[in-house]
Amino acid sequence: MEPINKVKSVLTPLNRKNVDTDQIISKEFLKRIERTGFGEFVFYHWRFDANGNKIEDFVLNQSKYDGSKILLAHDNFGCGSSREHAPWAILDYGFTVVIAPSFADIFHNNCFKNGILPIVLPVEIIETLLATAENQTIEADISLENQTIKAVGQSYHFEIDPYYKKMLINGWDEISLTFQYEEQIAAFEAKKSLTV
């Protein structure tokens, strides 16, 4: 996966709690057997009506957010289905950072495997940023190394698991890393004989 450290971009505000992965990528687009090409279908039923026409007031259809790499979301983002097609679609569309007050566990995990930085900030800060970003475009300057977000003249610190921070900054393939523990895995298996 691509390493990620510094990201500077306009924030795209998605002011809705409990956005589930069915909304991020609807099931009719899950039949591909590749990891790529999902971006054009992200939030499909919020972007397009039943006749395929753009729903103009949806944030992703507003030109002021074009080229944005940072999605600013609300509580429990990515709940529901485990489909990794959701982070694939978000990444393929162009977002590399998602900021929210909280994430659903599986989605959160899936982000780290794909070079997406999920940032948790307190809900009061998110709500202020959402309100501002809905009215005017605001830019954020993010450093994963320093664990900071600079936006609207403020600097916010965020916490991140040191293990996943290292993975993201280096763009490491987790499977290659785990192969370094082959000895421990083999020892565990020797101790515990298992068959289906």
Binding site: N18, K27, I33, H45, D105, N110, T178, Q184
Partner: protein, 469 residues
């Protein structure tokens, strides 16, 4: 101090631990289906890696498969995904319950049915409803495709140890109230993110009175409460269910395993990071009215009013949900008319569910204008239901009796609810568009779905059962 089952099972599976890192956890059983696996198999091929333990891996086809006119798959992309799984299983040596195989079915129905699911195992699958297997006292959770590939390559996963949540359910279940109503009531009361960052254990006398199939319904929807996994400590009912199943230990090995399994149960003085409690006296047959599983209420209630909520964003969420669902504040639940009924899914497609629904429809007819389908959870369930004559009861009442699969729960195949129409569904998610673009889903138990099919609108199944046929 005692330990809870979550701590015990987790501890037994740590391959490697180090300060500042997640634990490297061994995975005992990896279940695979056609939708979330092709990119993982492709990853193995590209990196020239082996599938480490095909003997701990088991595959089936469920998400995409048609439920009528077998074996023809009209959708070419779905067909490609299905063929790809068969090819991948062959190439990597994975046992596959292919379409039409007697053991084929919804992955979370067949795991327990085959005895693959056992207490104390760590079980994963690229599907969030893997939590179902927790009913046996396993730590079972859904993973993304990258993690599917990681398990295929290493039989392990890096996992930060979650916090523990006890969901205690006390009391006796009343007539007409089911396991589905318990879990819907839990999610409505505590919210769809109460379990985030936690593994939940369901405890209490109300839980341990339930059959294994009912426990699976409860654990299945743990993910709908945000929990990483949900489980129930094994007891005599668990052991009885597993005995004699295809992949369960046999003879003395079984007796020995049973002793070990029972020892995994949470100790009486076990502690949890958090405990929430609900009493079954609070629970009546449930119906969801909104666009996430916490937006539900009892059949005797109404759709809520915005004024019922204090938080501004909750008021907005209510209004957005009601706009999508085309419902008004204060509408009695029993006045909501439905056009579709779906009895099926990994939540409610087992024998207990089909029997409970059949009991309601026996001698009655599906209302005019309602399309009702039953999709058994596996070929085995279908066969057993037919041996009991349940299919005739459903067919005589005007239901369609289909082949197995995930079907209308997520509508990846042809079983789709048309835009603007309403479905009383025994599945697990009522998200926007879940059963078809613009479709409106109401989650209910199998008896409540059957009662709605007959009445053409939601109705208290307890009243229906009191009216002689």
């Amino acid at each position: 101090m005692g330990k809870n089952i979550i701590e015990k099972v987790w501890q037994q599976h740590i391959v490697y631990e180090e300060q500042g890192k997640p634990d490297l956890l061994y995975i005992d059983l990896h279940l695979v289906h056609e939708v979330t696996s092709p990119q993982a198999f492709e990853g193995l091929r590209l990196a020239n890696r082996q599938l480490r333990r095909p003997d701990l891996t088991y595959a089936t086809m469920d998400h995409n498969v048609p439920t009528k006119n077998l074996p023809i798959i009209t959708d070419p992309i779905a067909k490609k995904q299905i063929i790809t799984l068969a090819d991948n299983c062959k190439e990597f040596g994975v046992e596959l319950a292919d379409m039409g195989h007697p053991d084929q079915g919804i992955v979370h129905v067949i795991g327990p049915q085959l005895g693959l699911t056992q207490p104390g195992k760590t079980i994963v699958c690229g599907d969030s409803h893997t939590s179902t297997h927790g009913a046996f006292g396993a730590i079972a959770f859904g993973i993304g495709t990258s993690e599917v590939e990681h398990v295929m390559s290493t039989q392990t996963l890096w996992q930060a140890k979650p916090k523990t949540l006890e969901i205690r359910v006390t009391g006796q279940l009343g007539f007409g109230v089911t396991a589905k109503d318990i879990i819907l009531a839990i999610i409505a009361k505590f919210g769809i993110d109460v379990g985030t960052g936690h593994i939940a254990e369901f405890t209490g006398d109300a839980i341990h009175q339930l059959s294994m199939e009912e426990r699976m319904t409860i654990c299945n929807m743990s993910i709908e409460a945000g929990a990483k996994a949900g489980l129930i400590s094994p007891d005599a009912i668990t052991i009885d269910y597993i005995r004699g199943r295809k992949y369960a230990p046999k003879g003395e090995a079984f007796d020995q395993a049973a002793v070990e399994w029972l020892a995994l149960a949470s100790d009486d003085d076990a502690l949890y990071d958090r405990t929430v409690t609900i009493d079954t006296s609070e629970i009546e047959p449930f119906v969801t009215w909104g666009t996430n599983p916490s937006m539900g209420t009892g059949i005797s209630n109404t759709v809520p009013f915005a004024a019922d909520f204090e938080d501004e964003s909750d008021k907005q969420a209510l209004q957005k949900a009601l706009a999508y669902m085309d419902l008004q504040e204060g509408t009695p639940i029993s006045e909501i008319a439905i056009q579709h009924v779906f009895i099926g899914s990994c939540t409610n497609s087992r024998m207990h569910d089909l029997r409970a629904a059949a009991e309601v429809i026996k001698g009655r007819k599906v209302a005019k204008g309602v399309t009702a389908i039953v999709v058994p959870g596996s070929n085995t369930v279908k066969q057993q239901a037919e041996a009991e004559g349940l299919h005739e009861l459903f067919l005589n009442a005007g239901f369609e009796w289909r082949e197995t699969g995930c079907s209308m729960c997520l509508a990846m195949n042809d079983d789709v609810v048309p835009a603007g129409e309403r479905c009383a569904s025994t599945s697990n998610r009522n998200f926007e568009g879940r059963q078809g673009a613009g479709a409106r889903t109401h989650l209910v138990s199998p008896p409540m779905a059957a009662a709605a099919a007959i009445a053409g609108h939601f109705v208290d199944v307890r009243e229906v059962m009191n009216i002689p046929v």
